[in-house]
């Protein structure tokens, strides 16, 4: 099937304005008759729930944490992009649009990206009005910094905690609506099924994580803002609770999963220290504004203290390979470059998996205090984890899974192929193509939540009658029954291996064979090994405790079971895509100097997978991508 993104046509500058006008409206008096479910309350979900509640809809919002303020959007450090062009350095909506399309290696929809760039400016204004304490200069104006993949300074930031501050802004707006009674908040709930009635999304089944009770909620539309899936690699920068579960349950109810193979490996994370490690910690990309990446030129220098290695014996590989962008090369490129150096046997630190990120030049130039002011909290965090003082010796860094560009397929209105199911933020696939630029995730989450879904969901709701389905509908009963059986099965296996042993094993397979570099062989190996591991899981996993209780072992088991299915789909997608683009790097497809080689003739499309039943191969649907404003070109940062 050829998918249609339903993008508006005509001059790109007018598309969103025209579309907004064309969308049907719901009369203010009628809005309160509609109920909307919001799963996930991070930047996208929190902003959307608050905005929809304010418009007058009845919103039920769900999150697995104990408070909406804890969503993993909070961990974003560096900043948020907007085309304000305050520094007078030549930025514009068009340039942000262009950079994002190019940064995504020409695998995103033009209209969606244009809209993102257009509303980016409103986001900054909105956040300022909420009291987000963005960095300012002494005159009181908003300050900007530069970020990877752009040659202008368009990143707004709040120290190293931009994500936290934006999330707290959205959370405060949400709190205001909860107080006003337009949003009902359900904390510590995990969505375990999507309820589809006559082909239309009408509700969800949740597990109350405190009591273990299975609960049904019905609504006129369901929104998923459930984040990304890179915990499929086990070790990632995601929070421990981040999972593919909500998206995967929707996929199994018929929603298409688009481009799962586009995963972002962030270049600057603290290298793994041991096998027991539970997660990796990211160090903001903004560090590359002042930090220089290098490895020793000579292998015999590897054992030396970095400060003892002479300047001429250091290989500043990013500056060497990409002179115009230097240390600010986009993430996928910087990550692969780091891997290349380590594969060449010149990696530093334990296991030779690390490169230096050196601030000594910057400290000499602007002084230690300025560096402390810019990145103090990051240096502090680095020291806590590694016990090393980065003012005195360079940081050690290694790439780590960080973000998923792929996600559930949505049209221009953010609605999936299931009517009534909307997908927001990282959970959808829409704007980042094959690689996301730094400081764009926050922008997308808030754009979707504040400025897109409030319009587009109205266009859908105006076409349906409110409140037609309640939880009395047999589909809800069946869903609860299915979830209960699934849960009981997990609890009854009582095998020998723990859930985390399986998850580590899956993560190892994904990282080795489907990580920064993928090949036909490595992917085929995974396509054999993952189903075998899954089979073993369902025979030999040990899950303790009861179903009707707070049971974290059971929660992890459910999430792992879904990753064991999803990992295979990710590899399948990577296997089918015979090209390299953005975060998807197939070793067979590279230029002579090791850069990603796209195949626009055959793969310039969105690959969306349809679930066809357990044990059956999923079916691939394609949405061709057309580039009318930005010309398909080899992406060069040299």
């Amino acid at each position: 099937m050829i998918l249609d993104g339903k993008c508006p046509t005509g001059p790109i500058e007018k598309t969103w304005d025209k579309h907004r006008f064309d969308l049907k409206l719901v009369n203010p008096a009628n809005k309160r008759k509609y109920t909307v479910i919001m799963v996930g309350t991070g930047l996208a979900g929190g902003a959307a729930a608050a905005s929809l509640g304010e418009l007058g809809y009845n919103v039920m919002a769900f999150c697995y944490q104990d408070s909406p303020r804890r969503a993993h959007s909070i961990a974003a450090q560096g900043g948020i992009n907007a085309a304000k062009a305050y520094p007078n350095d030549g930025d514009s909506i068009y340039r942000l649009f262009y950079d994002t399309i190019k940064g995504g290696d020409f695998r995103a929809r033009e209209a969606d990206v244009w809209r993102l760039a257009q509303v980016s400016n409103n986001i900054i204004d909105q956040c300022v009005a909420q009291g987000v304490p963005f960095a300012r200069d002494y005159a009181g104006y908003l300050d900007n910094r530069s970020f990877g993949g752009a040659q202008v300074s368009r990143t707004f930031y709040a120290r190293g905690q931009t994500g936290q501050q934006l999330l707290l802004g959205a959370y405060s707006a949400l709190s205001r609506q909860i107080k006003a009674g337009t949003v009902k908040m359900y904390n510590r709930r995990e969505m375990l099924d999507l309820v589809v009635v006559d082909g239309v999304a009408k509700g969800i089944t949740c597990r109350n994580l405190i009591t273990g009770e299975l609960e049904s909620y019905a609504a006129d539309a369901v929104c998923l803002a459930t984040g990304g899936y890179v915990n499929v690699f086990y070790l990632s920068t995601n929070a421990m609770g981040c999972s593919v579960t909500a998206n995967w349950k929707a996929y199994k109810k018929g929603a298409f999963f688009a481009n799962p193979c586009y995963t972002q490996i962030h270049p600057t994370c603290i290298p793994q220290a041991g096998d027991y490690q539970s997660k990796l910690t990211l160090m903001s990309e903004s560090l590359r504004n002042d930090g220089r990446c290098w490895v020793p030129k000579k292998k015999e220098d590897l054992g030396k203290h970095p400060n003892e290695i002479a300047e001429e014996d250091r290989d500043y590989y990013l500056e060497r390979k990409y002179p115009s962008f230097g240390n600010l090369a986009p993430r996928d490129i910087a990550s692969r470059a780091a891997k290349e150096q380590c594969d060449d046997g010149r990696g530093v630190g334990p296991g030779g998996r690390g490169v230096y990120l050196d601030f000594s030049t910057a400290i000499k130039r602007v002084g230690e205090n300025t560096i402390k002011e810019r990145y103090g909290n990051l240096f502090e965090m680095y020291e806590k984890i590694t016990d090393e003082n980065a003012y005195k010796r360079p940081m050690r860094m290694y790439p780590a899974p960080h973000y998923s560009m792929g996600g559930l397929w949505v049209d221009y209105n953010l609605m999936s192929n299931i009517p009534g199911l909307f997908v927001l933020g990282e959970a959808n696939f829409s704007v980042h193509g094959a690689n996301r630029l730094g400081a764009s995730a926050l922008m997308q989450g808030l754009a979707d939540g504040y400025f897109v879904i409030p319009y587009t969901i109205g266009g859908y709701l105006a076409t349906v009658k409110p409140g037609t389905v309640t939880t009395e509908n047999p589909e809800f009963k069946k869903s609860v029954e299915d979830v209960k059986n699934y849960r009981d099965k997990l609890l009854s296996i009582n095998g020998k291996k723990t859930v985390s042993e399986f998850m580590r094993e899956l993560g190892g397979l994904m990282w080795e064979n489907c990580g920064m570099a993928r090949s036909k062989e490595s992917l085929e190996e995974n396509l054999k090994k993952i189903p075998a591991l899954r089979e073993e899981f369902w025979k030999n996993v040990k899950v303790t405790g009861a179903g009707a209780d707070l049971n974290q072992d059971l929660e992890n088991a459910g999430r792992t079971a879904d990753f064991l299915e999803f990992g295979e789909l990710l590899c399948r997608d990577a296997h089918h895509r015979n090209e390299s683009c953005g975060g998807h790097f197939r070793v067979e497809f590279q230029t002579s100097d090791g850069e990603a080689q796209r195949d626009d003739e055959n793969y310039c499309y969105v690959g969306a997978w349809e679930f066809k039943g357990a044990g059956k191969d999923p079916e691939l649907h394609k949405e061709p991508l057309r580039f009318e404003n930005v010309h398909l070109a080899v992406r060069s940062y040299k």
Partner: protein, 252 residues
């Protein structure tokens, strides 16, 4: 990759089946711990052993494990988050402990934070305090340009210092009166320092202080235990600021 030196520690962990269970300490041994383990990874190790022997693992809240989400909440040897300055439990590393140490691990204890299970408590009271007024009543869309109101850097920095609060609950857990003043004041001070927050400042401070009391938190008696325990080092000067704002609000 792992270190040669490992530690063995004795853990006395608070286990409580549910809100109505009296709860008690159970003793566990953590073996093979290196100085690079984080505190939570050390508990992961213990939990893996418990699961393998068919016992229920220790339940504890945690999520981002990089010190920002505010989910983790353990009192280690009587100190919320373990006593390393400006550090959450998830960022506390075992190099701060010695081989053979005995460690007591307890949940936050405050009447307003009822225990749910083991080390997990219900912190929804903090949400209730924010809902009482911890926001500016701006509408989505229809706001002026971000540079329309200039905010001098010292004010923006002051607001940011307050806004660093992660809402973990350590302040109330550390307070001998279980007062939530540091948490409440951080939000009040942040918004009172910014022009966007000023119009509602008086209403906000009285509503939030009342909500704090209704939630069952105690009164601040200036022990400053909160600041010492706060993983973000939120300063008690914000409590003084709240008090000023409160007094000002009485004359409005």
């Amino acid at each position: 990759m792992s270190d040669h030196k490992t530690m063995t520690l004795t853990l006395n962990v608070w286990r409580q089946k549910g809100p109505n269970d009296p709860g008690k300490f159970e003793t566990y041994t953590a073996k093979g711990i290196t100085e690079h383990h984080s505190f939570l990874e050390m508990i992961d190790v213990v939990n893996e052993d418990l699961i393998k022997s068919g016992k229920e693992p220790i339940v504890f809240d945690h999520d981002c494990r990089e010190g920002i989400c505010g989910m983790c909440s353990q009192v280690i040897n009587g100190v919320p988050h373990g006593g390393q300055e400006r550090t959450t439990v998830c960022q506390l590393h075992m190099r701060k402990f010695k081989d053979g140490d005995t460690i007591f691990i307890e949940p936050w204890r405050a009447t307003a934070f009822p225990i749910i299970k083991d080390l997990v408590v219900d912190r929804s009271a903090y949400d209730t305090i924010i809902q009482a007024g911890g926001y500016t009543s701006c509408h989505t869309g229809g706001v002026p340009d971000g540079n329309a109101l200039l905010i001098p850097k010292p004010d923006a920095d002051y607001a940011m210092d307050a806004a660093e609060c992660i809402g973990c609950g350590a302040c109330a857990a550390a307070c001998p009166n279980s007062s939530a003043m540091l948490f409440t004041s951080a939000k009040v001070a942040q918004l009172a320092a910014l022009p966007q927050g000023k119009p509602e400042a008086a209403k906000r401070v009285t509503a939030m202080v009342d909500a704090m009391k209704e939630c069952g938190f105690g009164n601040c008696s200036n022990h400053y235990e909160c600041q010492a325990a706060c993983p973000k080092g939120i300063n008690v000067k914000f409590i003084a600021k709240l008090n000023r704002e409160y007094l000002k609000a009485q004359f409005k």
